[in-house]
Symmetry: C2
């Protein structure tokens, strides 16, 4: 084991960057002992050099990110986020022969194939454990621990902000917009919350895991994404009455030779471990042919967990393992997508607001029967504060297109007061 | 990435060995793609060559384990279990320059330091993911994913047989001996169940994880081990009334510069994820300074999960990562143990069977008060099928020695009918 110091350059000196810098300085001896080589923090590129950054030596700080990226450090750690300038800087770092460690899920999900191709051409590593589930080793588990298995499906809670909002809605009985405003006040949600509540952040993460699990390049464009802005408190309550919680589930499952990737509010049985991951927790449920069902849970964000994940990647680069960035050489990768003609099948939750009059239930059930949708359970609540009466059905598994068409037909019945709400029930 | 085939020799052709052999043959192409080099199964050493082993080419099978071990294969996979001859064969394999992958928890827990020293001297890998929690990457997570963190504690359910028995006792209301007999009939428990129900198997596993987490060599001799043979159905019921489940918990926590390792039946709050891991499931709860709390769960045994873990290790050897076997060079390792003078502190559950007469409760509480043990909750059940009346207390945190002394004093009271039962309450 070599004693030459490994040089590390940081792009980004925010909360995560500062924690990584502290870790590399404060735990240097530990790191050395565990990996067999010393590390040396060489530079930290920041936007505002005037800001004090406790724990980072002032002489290392610069605002010339391009120079830091191209400095030829052994490892360049990118913690800026967003597509540009991160993408250009990472390409320049790899061109200069540096391995790259990043927490940038958007970049890997949207440009992973091109980055992997350059990494492999230059013989450097490109690692991104911190992009998914913070300190929980989701990427490592899917890429390394399950290399001898065929993964069947991944389902997870990958966005802590959405999970916090849904948990608060359920426990406090407040509407989405009120909980979001409170979360923004507390700093749990961004001023522009679209990436989180629109489902895009979770979609970036599941896109990355799907590529690793099913052997393709990340294909964010093929992800079906629905966020939580349309989740109604009434549905959280009614789903609860039926024994379910509503969770924003990011899932990827085999579909023919490829995989289907989606992010959606799903009903999950209250007894399932994923339903019990509350607040800002992240959770991931992995099903494989050999391993059976594995469940991982932990904080999915925060400076500490993210820095620990970055450190794990730095250690992996130092340990010298060589694997394809995704599960095969980049040149051979196809974008991960469902095979053509694979029909999505699932169970549905349908909530219809109807006028409280005789015969309505019969006409709704007739429409479902005619469409070929079979009802599994049924719930009618007494008239309450809402206009009309909610009737709720869960269905047996049926082609999603058939289910959507049936719901569309129900919506056109005269006694139905507003478009019915269709949610999907998780198959886990 | 080299195209020279990696040769693999198996020691052991039982259910796990056969599954590994099938995996290496059947998934060879996948493996090749993911790792960048082909694998070739070179030999399988078995006890009984006459037995048919579907999926393993007959010409590979031999009963000369010593020759297979010393054959100089790139990787020797040991799946025989037990200390000897596994130990001698592994030493011989490493001496011949082979990397070793093993599922042998007893061997790593009891002889890990010597094996690690030889592995490092010969420059070969020694990996044992399959020794703990089957296909759940517990070893990888502690060794690699948490390399940039300080682990505070590990608590887990690491023996599926014990967890199955305790779950069955709780759900069916049957006594330990009846459930054990049924488990043996079904093949879930061995004819000699001592390794499992005595807590030794779980102790081997937590000993390995503790060495990785706290930076020492495995020190099985220092583990405090109590199995489940003394767990009484009455305590499962009473703990349930208080909001707890009784689980065989294997734990390791920092104690001074070292760590304390124990396996014991613990009371765990029903709402904790570990309490909800039922049946043959394994679960592990990791607390770290940076990562916070991570939870892993999955099947901890079986041919499929174990073979997947072995495959992950084979892939790691092929990927060429070089790390110390434990978290530092073997020569520098001290056996993992608590620092001298670190007092164990915890909360207790005390069940006392008393004569149903006035003043008994007062005398019991007086003894506790005099010993300096403070009661947190108290439960007295009406007289039932047992002789005497059970009174149950949970205590606030107190030095374990103080708690044990107090229980001893209570046992000597005239109205107390049998030695009180003391169980510990998990601090997770």
């Amino acid at each position: 084991m070599s004693a030459a110091p490994i040089t590390i350059a940081l792009l980004g000196g925010g909360t995560v960057g500062s924690e990584v810098a502290r870790l590399l300085v404060h735990d240097a001896e530990d790191f050395h002992k565990r990996i067999g080589a010393p590390v040396r923090l060489a530079a930290v590129a920041v936007r505002d050099t005037a800001k004090t950054r406790p724990g980072i030596e002032a002489s290392l700080i610069t605002d010339d990110a391009a120079a830091v990226a191209a400095s030829g450090a052994d490892i360049v750690v990118e913690l800026m986020g967003g597509i540009e300038p991160a993408r250009t800087l990472i390409l320049s770092a790899m061109a200069a022969g540096s391995s790259v460690v990043t927490a940038n899920k958007a970049l890997i999900a949207e440009h992973g194939a091109a980055l992997a191709a350059l990494a492999e051409a230059k013989g450097v590593s490109l690692l991104f454990e911190a992009a998914v589930m913070g300190g929980v080793p989701a990427v490592k588990t899917v890429r390394e621990a399950l290399v001898g298995d065929e993964i069947r499906s991944l389902s997870g809670i990958l966005n802590g902000t959405c999970n916090y909002i849904l948990t608060e809605m359920e426990t406090t009985g407040s509407a989405f917009s009120d909980v979001l405003a409170e979360a923004q006040r507390l700093g749990y949600a961004e001023a522009d919350p679209t990436m989180d509540v629109g489902g895009f952040d979770a979609a970036h993460k599941i896109t990355i895991l799907a590529a690793l699990a099913f052997g393709g390049s990340p294909n964010f464009a093929a992800a079906e994404v629905e966020g939580i802005t349309g989740v109604d408190l009434l549905d959280i309550r009614l789903a609860g009455d039926l024994g379910y919680r509503i969770k924003l589930i990011a899932s990827a499952e085999r579909a023919g030779e490829g995989a289907r990737v989606q992010v959606r509010p799903f009903l999950v049985r209250k007894t399932h471990p994923i339903a019990q991951a509350d607040g800002a927790l992240n959770a991931l449920f992995i099903e494989g042919d050999r391993i059976g069902r594995i469940f991982l849970q932990g904080p999915g964000a925060g400076a500490g967990p993210t820095a620990a994940a970055v450190a794990a990647d730095i250690a992996d680069v130092m340990a010298g393992a060589r694997r394809p960035v995704f599960q095969a050489p980049a040149a051979s990768l196809q974008p991960c997508a469902p095979s053509a003609g694979t029909a999505a099948v699932g169970r549905g939750y349908i909530r219809v607001m109807v006028r409280d009059e005789p015969g309505v239930l019969a006409s709704v059930s007739e429409e479902l029967a005619e469409a070929g949708v079979s009802i599994e359970s049924f719930l009618q609540k007494p008239p309450g504060e809402t206009p009309g009466v909610p009737i709720v059905m869960t269905t047996h598994a049926v082609a999603e297109a058939v289910l959507a068409a049936a719901v569309d037909r129900i919506g056109r019945l005269p006694a139905v007061l507003e478009p019915p709400r269709l949610l999907h029930i998780a198959s886990i």
